[in-house]
């Protein structure tokens, strides 16, 4: 049989945990709501602005992905590397 004290100490964290989960659930929904509004409404609206459309097209035309983490992710590196490798191949013959 559990004592009063032990019941209290065991149940209190459970209540706290349930409370945390409830408020946590609300915070999660709110956070996801903010994310959804930014990505589904705000950013598409910015992407439609003429100045941004022009900037995005300018990047696309040059094969630049500003979010590339490594040079192999950059399409624009292909012609540069091909040219540099050609230069290296033909250098000894010159």
């Amino acid at each position: 049989m559990r004592s009063f004290n032990s019941e209290a100490t065991e149940d209190m964290p459970t209540c706290r945990s349930t409370g945390f989960r409830q408020t946590g659930g609300i915070r999660l929904v709110l956070s996801l709501g903010v994310v959804a509004v930014i990505w589904c409404v705000l950013l598409p609206a910015i992407a439609r602005r003429p100045a941004m459309v022009e900037h995005l097209n300018w990047l696309d035309d040059r094969g630049i992905d500003p979010s590339a983490m490594y040079y192999t992710e950059l399409e624009m590196m292909d012609p540069i590397l091909r040219r540099l490798e050609r230069q290296r191949q033909f250098k000894p013959a010159e």
Binding site: F20, R21, G24, G25, R27, L28, S31, L32, V35, W39, C40, L43, P44, I46, A47, R48, M52, H55, L56, W58, L59, R62, I64, D65, P66, S67, A68, M69, Y70, Y71, T72, E73, L74, M76, M77, I80, L81, R83, L84, E85, Q87, R88
Partner: protein, 480 residues
């Protein structure tokens, strides 16, 4: 990514047991298997008389048959669904990445379930949790693929981290997810795959001027910043100091990941370093080209300066293009050389950590066996993949075509997914409050700003010397 004590190292099981159970070794096995399969797929798919055509100097197209089966969400403007499917229109070709994303899911799920089971953990529990973690990683990729987000260098690592943090700091990460929250396993496997992209043969792409800018300045700034952090700022964490110094001096997020794993930094330290690096990159990619234009700096010098200072690779290209196509080429090539220095940096940091930092100060010099035991083994896989692919790229007839097809057709995509899964895992495993002590006294910020200031001055000086004084004629001949 946490460091262990010399006592832990002494109690470590033998190499053969580690090969069967440790994350480091399994990262090597999984990474190697993926690289071998990727290369064989390209090799078997090479056109008839491949060698003959290469010998005749003909342009040969080689592709990977795995490419349609491995993909990430595509770029989108107004609807997130466009990142998975968009029908072809008159002006644009269609997009369908569903098959590729599912392919990646199947490959990683099967591989890691088997690996987890053989390592003596529960493969079934991993398999039950993995779909949710993968779904979160997919969401991070979709967020990063929005065209405006991409244009400002806000990489998937940031969003993956944010998604994980939102969950862990609101409803807390559910217990059932934890078997698939294997940050280090994802990062280390991703790094072994990254090794295949670290082609040493491209280190001399810009010749002597490139060597001067990238090879000299990068290690000088890295070491000076680290010493400044230790001696002047007295940073509490050596590993945080090292990760910030490396991501600022080498090439941003990818260097931070490699160095953090090599020096066994805490996950919060990696998050902090990446957050700072991405924030400063956004500022620098806008401000630096404006300064270069305002002072009327020569485009090649400006390009070299941008390439040596802006952390992120994509941002360097974008900033260089603002100046001119020529500046963009120089900037991107200098940054590529820095990218390749990741291999050397990770190896040197791992060696320094095992021989100097983790060394017991009261004991004699550590024996070779002790160093071997402490050394992060996945670094060997990373370096070996780099050496083998560099060899194939540099010596085999048609090597560049075969290596490029292997990387672009499969390993690059898988590596990205592994890093994305790792950052989701870091977020799921991090409490916001754990990040606060790292910011105490603003030391990381001061370290970054001071290190970057040194980087800006030294790179400008070295670029001016290399491109304008010492190798001026060479540059005029070689530049496009």
């Amino acid at each position: 990514m946490t460091s262990d004590s010399p006592q832990d190292a002494a109690a470590r099981p033998g190499t053969l047991i580690q090969m069967r159970t440790s994350e480091d070794w399994w990262a090597i096995w999984c990474g190697t298997l993926l690289i071998v399969v990727a290369f064989l797929a390209v090799w078997c798919n090479r056109p008839d008389d491949f060698r003959g055509k290469i010998a005749e100097g003909q342009a040969v197209e080689v592709s990977s048959p795995l490419k349609p089966w491995l993909a990430k969400p595509n770029k989108w403007d107004s609807s997130p669904l466009d990142s998975f499917y968009r029908p072809a229109t008159a002006g644009e070709s269609g997009v369908n990445t569903v098959q590729g994303v599912l392919g990646v899911f199947c490959v990683i799920a099967v591989l890691f379930t088997v690996a987890t089971q053989i390592r003596g953990l529960s493969g079934v529990k991993f398999l039950k949790a993995f779909p949710v973690v993968f779904l979160l990683a997919t969401l991070a990729y979709v967020m990063a693929a929005q065209s405006v987000v991409k244009a400002y260098n806000l990489e998937y690592a940031l969003w993956a981290l944010m998604i994980g943090l939102i969950i862990s700091n609101t409803v807390r990460t559910p217990e059932f997810l934890k078997p698939a929250v294997v940050t280090e396993f994802y990062i280390k496997t991703g790094l072994v795959l990254l090794g295949a992209e670290v082609l040493m043969t491209r280190l001399l792409a810009l010749g002597a001027p490139g060597v001067m800018v990238a090879w000299v300045v990068t290690p000088v700034v890295l070491i000076s910043t680290y010493i400044f952090g230790q001696k002047v700022l007295r940073m509490e964490s050596r590993s945080l100091n090292m990760v910030i110094s490396a991501d600022m001096s080498v090439c941003g997020v990818s260097a931070a990941i490699a160095t953090a794993s090599a020096c066994k930094a805490k996950k919060e330290e990696l998050s902090l370093a990446i957050g700072m690096s991405l924030s400063f990159t956004v500022i620098m990619m806008i401000v630096l080209p404006a300064i270069i234009k305002a002072v009327g700096m020569d485009e090649i010098l400006g390009g070299a300066w941008l390439g040596g200072t802006i952390d992120s690779t994509g941002a360097v290209a974008a900033a260089g293009a603002v100046l001119s196509d020529r500046a963009m080429e120089v900037a991107a090539t200098v940054k590529m050389i820095q990218n390749i220095l990741i291999g050397v940096t990770a190896f040197c940091v791992a060696t320094y950590w095992t021989t100097a930092v983790e060394r017991d100060p009261s004991a004699d010099r550590p024996s070779l066996l002790e160093i071997w035991n402490r050394f992060p083994k996945f670094v060997l896989g990373f370096v070996l993949a780099s050496i083998i692919f560099s060899f194939v790229h540099g010596t085999l007839a048609g090597g560049p075509e075969l290596v490029d097809a292997t990387i672009k057709g499969s390993t690059k995509t898988l590596r990205g997914w592994f890093f994305c899964l790792a950052f989701v895992s870091i977020g799921l495993d991090t409490d916001f409050r754990e990040l606060l002590p790292q910011m105490r006294g603003g030391k990381p910020l001061i370290l970054y700003v001071c290190g970057q200031s040194l980087n800006l001055c030294l790179t400008l000086l070295m670029a001016w010397l290399a491109f304008h004084v010492v190798f001026r004629d060479l540059v005029e001949q070689a530049a496009p």
